[in-house]
């Protein structure tokens, strides 16, 4: 009797748990987000808006009226009501702009005059924010310029390895920024592969990075974001219904005209999406600029990091708030734009592809030659840095060497506790990666489930849950540091304090789960809602329906999302470098940056190790064949 009663009760508990599993996970997710995302961001805002517990706008005023930060806009913020004076200075500036056309001989040694328009503008002080936006804009232009031809080739031509190449466009997403930076170092640095190649021809060495660090940073940004532009554009291109083009042709449009009238309008949203995302990402750029440009090229993000290192928390928080407001605005624009575009072109017949090199004669046509030229360019930009990384790990200026790896080994064996040990970094990275997986995947799934089926409420949850995309790692890192790591006093003598590994995993999970959601949501949205309802009518609880029906059907998205989460954790640098300072919770990217401080060799070797591990998680992504139309 007792046993039966007990069993009945335990079944009742199980039933209750099962019925509420979904809401319990949702509450847990909301809790994690509240404590680990909103609280830190809130702490940053509070730090920027309160001085010793008194609300103040003084910090903002200081920043906004300082030409160092906002350039010419400082006057405007200082005296917003002096409209007349501002207009006069604007007119004066416009009056000084001149456009001229001159004959130039751009190719040395060739007397070919080309009319060269030039725009003369009087100098303008852009300030830190202006420069950040400027380099983001240049990076966006470079990324679109480099990405669009790739989209064209992938969408229009069939060739061996096309599918592989298409899936490779996801690679930059999982490549740690610091590693890419080191790859560019290995390629363009004084002892880099480029100088070694030039050395064979008896030239150099040239200090490329010192000559024009901004150009190298922009190429590195293009390395990151051009594939993103290509990816979203190819996806749009493939969903263009070929029948719409055929209809235009039958109505009298030439192929070129049909392309302009029918295809371009359908591609434009995708290109703009890619450009907007690129701008957001490069506006918040951190590891690449930190490693390649340093403080002389400081973006807002790098400067914030520098302020934190100098313990100027209020200034850092103020800058962080301003940056977050800007990036939130951009991200909001992106989300609005994306939702306005969704739902187009469904069930379309995709256009057929022509072979890239059908025979020798067409292979020499101008178009094919241009494609080959572009191919070589992409090889240099994309394969160059990664190959240089691997090569740079085993060479120095004078040939093959194992001393970089030997340094790592020696450091591991003989290094002091306070030094950065390679194995500890690798172990930390792997452990944090796994822990991130465990936390981020359920979070991502729950957010997907909540947002995909709900209508208006879902959109709000979606926006709130996508906040991590808009809050930079550094900002988030400060929030965590000042909020949870230092501890927040609660009434009654309690304290919320989260430190060390837990804080890092939380930061990684919060950064990673949007990618889980982004991988699962499209698959989930494509499932017939009647399947869940059928399961429910057959007796399954909402949780059972999720477990038995939805999750198995979106398994590829879950695995891909998990691999993403892992890779993002492995590569995360911005918040980790803040949270790991002074402890033994540093990860591989942090170790790379620390080694970079002295000689580049060990950093390059460490970067290679990071590359191998990241590549392994990419292989998982590719094997599962998940979707990455993020």
């Amino acid at each position: 009797m007792r046993a039966a009663g007990l069993r009945r009760r335990s079944t009742a508990v199980r039933r209750w748990l099962e019925h509420h599993a979904l809401s319990l996970t949702a509450i847990a997710t909301a809790g994690v987000l509240a404590v680990m995302l909103y609280l830190p961001v809130g702490v940053v805002f509070v730090n920027a808006a309160f001085d010793d517990g008194v609300a103040t706008l003084a910090f903002f005023r200081e920043v906004l009226t300082d030409p160092f930060y906002v350039g010419v806009l400082a006057d405007l913020f200082a005296e917003p009501l002096a409209v007349r004076a501002h207009l006069e200075s604007l007119l004066g500036w416009l009056a000084a702009v001149s456009v001229s056309i001159s004959l130039e001989y751009p190719i040395p040694g060739v007397p070919l005059p080309i009319p060269w328009p030039s725009l003369e503008t009087p100098g303008i002080r852009t300030g830190l924010f202006g420069f950040t936006a400027y380099q983001a804009a240049l990076s966006t232009v470079a990324s679109v310029a480099l990405g669009l031809p790739a989209a064209y080739i992938l969408a229009k031509y069939e060739f061996r390895g096309r599918r592989t190449l298409r899936s490779l466009t996801i690679l930059p997403f999982v490549l740690p920024g610091i590693m890419v930076a080191v790859g560019f170092y290995a390629m363009f640095g004084r002892t880099g592969t480029l100088n070694q190649l030039l050395g064979i021809a008896g030239l150099g060495p040239y200090p490329f990075i010192e000559w024009n660090p901004l150009a190298i940073v922009i190429v590195a940004h293009a390395f990151y974001n051009a594939p993103l532009v290509a990816r979203v554009t190819v996806a749009a291109w493939e969903s263009v219904d070929v029948r719409t083009v055929e209809t235009a042709r039958s109505l009298g449009a030439s192929p070129r005209r049909a392309f302009r009238d029918v295809v371009v309008p359908q591609l434009l949203p995708a290109v703009l999406t890619g450009a907007l995302l690129t701008f957001i990402f490069t506006f918040m750029t951190f590891p690449i600029v930190l490693a390649l440009g340093g403080l002389q090229l400081a973006t807002v993000e790098v400067w914030i990091y520098d302020r934190v290192r100098r313990l100027a928390y209020s200034e850092a928080a103020t800058l962080a708030v301003l940056e977050t407001v800007l990036s939130l605005g951009l991200t909001y624009a992106y989300l609005r734009y994306e939702s306005a575009q969704s739902g187009l072109a469904r069930g379309a017949t995709s256009p057929s592809r022509t072979p890239l090199f059908p025979d020798l004669r067409t292979a020499l046509s101008p178009r094919r030659v241009a494609i080959v030229g572009y191919g070589i360019l992409t090889l240099v930009v994309f394969v160059g840095p990664m190959a240089s990384l691997v090569v740079g790990g085993v060479t120095d200026g004078s040939g093959f060497t194992t001393r970089h790896y030997a340094f790592l080994l020696e450091r591991q064996l003989e290094g002091a506790d306070y030094q950065t040990l390679p194995l500890v970094a690798i172990r930390n990275s792997l452990l944090f990666g796994l822990a991130t997986l465990v936390v981020a995947v359920p979070m991502g799934i729950v957010v997907s489930v909540v947002t995909v089926r709900a209508d208006r409420g879902g959109a709000i949850v979606d926006t709130l849950a996508m906040l991590p995309l808009a809050v930079s790692g550094v900002v988030f890192g400060i929030g965590l540091l000042q909020g949870l790591v230092f501890g927040i006093p609660l009434p009654g003598g309690w304290r919320i304090q989260v430190t060390g590994a837990v804080a890092i995993v939380a930061a990684h999970a919060v950064a990673a789960y949007p990618f889980v959601t982004r991988n699962i949501s499209p698959l989930l949205a494509n499932l017939d809602p009647a399947m869940v309802e059928s399961a429910r009518a057959l007796g399954a609880s909402r949780y059972r329906a999720l477990r038995d029906v939805e999750l198995p059907l979106v398994a590829s998205g879950i695995v891909a999302g998990a691999a993403f989460a892992f890779a993002i954790s492995i590569g995360e640098f911005s918040s980790t470098v803040i949270l790991a300072s002074g402890g033994d919770t540093y990860t591989m990217p942090v170790a790379v940056e620390r080694y970079l401080g002295r000689r580049s060799g060990p950093a390059i070797a460490m970067g290679t190790v990071l590359l191998v591990i990241t590549a392994a998680s990419f292989v998982v992504v590719d094997r599962v064949g998940g979707r990455f139309e993020g």
Partner: protein, 354 residues
């Protein structure tokens, strides 16, 4: 077995959840009263957006009514989740689980409810596959089956746990016409063999008349009429039902004189003898195409022929009279542009009597 009732059920999306007033949202259902008897085959029919699917979903528990109650055998079901309602649902899309075999699909509900009569789950699955003529197909994947076969798997899956109610949401509309008719007969046969109370949703009024014990015609979130198919066809209660169910000719007339049950009513300058109701000087009546005959010598009207459709047994003639569309049923394609027909007063049926 189970009877079912909907008592004053309303469903409003958005707004303040009220059906009228300044704060009203989108009204999907308005004061729906339906009683389905034990073992009955009951059909909800209407144009798209009429609320028939919302009604079915309220019965299944996928939608909560804003007002009113759904009762199974008098038991109020408000707040009871779908998985505890003991209903079998078949959707238009079939919603088979693609990652499960046919047998796993059919057996899914048996993970939560024991098969009836102490049978094992495997036996029950085999029995159901047998019932829908798919014996031996259990190991196939759903996508290996044709549309009609998938439909039958969905039916078997819904029936496997021996539900109290079977709910079918446009289950045939993705199939071609011939298959639809044979499946319809099979569904009807299985339903009467099992004696299971069934609610069927369709937009196809001919299907509704062919298959049902009783039909509810819905429009704009309201029930226009509930009745046996013959009643619905012969004695439509409203103008909407008259026009929605089958071909019909509806006339709005002004009553000029009365003589007992009948009166003289004028439409577009012509006067007809038709049944009238007391107390109104207007009457709306309808005459089925079959009621308009060349041989009838009362209530004559001359119709200008526009198109003829040859349907095999009969010919449907679409024409115009007095700027009104007129539909006729003839045995032969008419020669000539005009055609004079008439109707007996008793072939006119008054709708919307006020």
């Amino acid at each position: 077995m189970t009877g079912l009732s909907l008592d004053g059920v309303s469903k409003v999306y958005g707004g303040a959840g009220v059906t009228d007033g300044p704060d009203s949202g989108t009204v999907a259902l308005e004061d729906v009263d339906i009683t389905v008897r034990d073992g009955e085959f009951f059909t909800l029919v209407g144009p798209s957006g009429c609320g028939k699917t919302t009604t079915l979903r309220a019965i299944a528990g996928f939608e909560a009514p804003t007002e009113g109650a759904v009762r199974f055998d008098g038991r109020e079901m408000t707040g009871v989740p779908p998985e505890e309602r003991d209903v079998g649902v078949v959707f238009q899309s079939y919603a088979l689980f693609p990652h499960m075999t046919v047998a796993e699909n059919v057996g899914y509900g048996l993970r939560f409810r024991d098969p009836p009569d102490g049978a094992t789950a495997d036996d029950r699955v085999a029995e159901l596959l047998d019932l829908v003529d798919l014996e031996g197909m259990g190991d196939r994947d759903p996508e290996q089956l044709s549309g009609g076969q998938q439909q039958r798997v969905a039916l078997a899956r819904a029936l496997a746990p021996a539900p109290d109610l079977l709910l079918l949401d446009e289950p045939m509309s993705a199939l071609d016409a011939q298959l639809r008719e044979s499946l319809r007969r099979q569904v009807k046969r299985i339903q009467s063999e099992l004696g299971i109370t069934t609610v069927y949703v369709t937009h196809d009024q001919a299907e509704a008349l062919a298959i049902s014990d009783r039909v509810a015609v819905m429009n704009g979130g309201r029930v226009e009429q509930i009745g046996r198919p013959q009643e619905i066809y012969r004695e439509p209660a409203t103008r909407f039902v008259a026009e929605f169910v089958g071909d019909n000719n509806v006339f709005d007339a002004a009553v000029r004189s009365r003589d007992g049950e009948y009166g003289r009513a004028e439409v577009g300058g012509e006067t007809f003898t038709v049944p009238v109701v007391d107390g109104s000087d207007r009457v709306t009546f309808c005459v089925r195409p079959g009621g308009l005959a060349r041989s009838a010598d009362r209530n004559r009207l001359t119709v200008r022929v526009e198109t003829s459709e040859f349907l095999g047994e009969t010919v449907r003639v679409n024409g115009r009279w007095n700027d009104r569309r007129i539909v006729l049923r003839l045995d032969e394609v008419p020669d000539g542009d005009e055609l004079t027909v008439g109707f007996e007063p008793d072939d006119a049926h008054v709708v919307d009597p006020r």
